[in-house]
Amino acid sequence: MSGLLVALRKDLLLQWRGKAQIVAIFAFGATALLLFSFAIGPDSLALRQHAAGFLWLGLLLASTLSLAESFEREVEEQALEGLLLLPASARALYYGKALANWAQLALLGAALVPVMVVLYDAGTLRLLSLLGVILLGTAGLSAPGTLYAAMTAQARARQTLLPLLLFPLVVPVLLAAVKATSLLILGDPMGQLAPWATLLAAFDVIHWALGGLFFGRVVED
């Protein structure tokens, strides 16, 4: 447990010292949200209708940048090998990094919400529920994303490989998070929010467990 906390502290500290990177990724996500509106045209009703989808697509695209970055630092100068020599389990390293990535992605998602509200006139007053959906959704991106980033950071063509592996896998996250966010923005007369949130939670549980199970094999030498 203490190994996990130390690993988490290390990764959060690295992210804090690389603040410029986080700001740049946020700018990328916000630009994506701006560009999506050009695909629909200046139809404010249609934009509001699709706002949740745009938010999550923007977040998904931005997440590949931040996930890839989190492991590129470890591969440079063989930092990962040094970490593995420490008396901390690979599992602790994985969960530390996945939690740090989760925090960063959730922050990014929360920061993109005002952009969505302004551009698409798509707001909600159920802010706590929205925060919950963002937390559940970004957890689903972070767990498999961290596992795959560990592989792709050491492969050739890593910029292409991470999205190629991650995107098909997180289809359920995208579907459920978009649906849940849409229900919050456009109203939820049938009370469908809970089943979608449950689906997200189930995905999270399965992939956080699988990641911890396999990360040791992925980074072993």
Partner: protein, 239 residues
């Protein structure tokens, strides 16, 4: 080279598969009765449904290979994993193509966001991505372990994808099985199912041999004999 088996069973399987497919397709196209509502378009079912069964089977076999590799570290499972994953992706692609050909005259569209169709497309991309990963990793050990892990994770994801798309949207016909189709359609379906099964198992066995040969050429210096290899170290070769 000596350890790569040279028996002819895979060739026999491929030949039997082709013969069965020819027989089943002849039966399905010319002898089976026309379906009342869909007409001749329905005859694509004689390859479509067996392809669906076999695509699932091939990817399930890939999953078994991945689990066996992670437990045993034996290279033969990695060779089989590569072969089975390629076969699963090819069969899934065929499945999507056949489905689109059937859907256009029946539903009026090439594509529909129905759970099984969408899940198959997601599987093509998920397992195709793992094949890309294999292509971009040069170290054989890392390539084997990573693709086995990715295969297990992707396989575990398939049911979640299926249920999430099912909740999201649904239109596809109920699954076809001998219980849901008329007796007149049984035999061509069964013959083609075994035809495709023999064809892909034979091709996977041959492809695994190719993978074993490539592995031998990748590992330097030339592979030591199994007896002199250090205990626990994976020994390349063996399809």
């Amino acid at each position: 080279m000596a350890r790569v088996a040279h028996n002819r069973t895979p060739h026999a399987l491929v030949a039997a598969g082709v013969a069965l497919l020819l027989a089943g397709s002849y039966w399905g196209l010319l002898k089976a009765p026309r379906e009342i509502f869909m007409g001749d378009v329905q005859r694509i079912m004689y390859v479509h449904v067996p392809t669906a069964w076999n695509a699932m089977l091939a990817l399930s076999f890939a999953f078994v290979c991945a689990v066996c590799f992670l437990f045993t570290n034996a290279w033969k499972w990695d060779n089989r994993l590569e072969a089975a994953m390629e076969m699963g992706v090819v069969l899934s692609l065929l499945l999507c193509t056949q489905g689109a050909i059937w859907a256009k005259p029946t539903w009026g569209v090439w594509w529909d966001w129905d759970p099984r169709l969408t899940t198959t497309a997601v599987m093509v991309f998920a397992f195709g991505g793992i094949l890309a990963l294999r292509a971009f990793v040069d170290d054989p050990v890392k390539r084997a372990v990573w693709s086995a892990v990715a295969c297990i994770v992707a396989f575990a994801d398939v049911p979640i994808v299926y249920f999430s798309v099912k909740w999201w949207n649904s239109l596809h016909q109920a699954q076809s099985s001998p219980q849901t189709v008329s007796r007149a359609f049984h035999w061509p379906l069964r013959i083609n199912a075994f035809g495709i099964l023999f064809l892909w198992t034979g091709l996977v066995a041959l492809r695994a041999r190719v993978a074993a040969l490539r592995l031998q050429s990748e590992i330097h210096p030339p592979v030591p004999e199994q007896k002199s290899a250090p205990a626990g170290a994976p020994v390349p070769g063996g399809a």
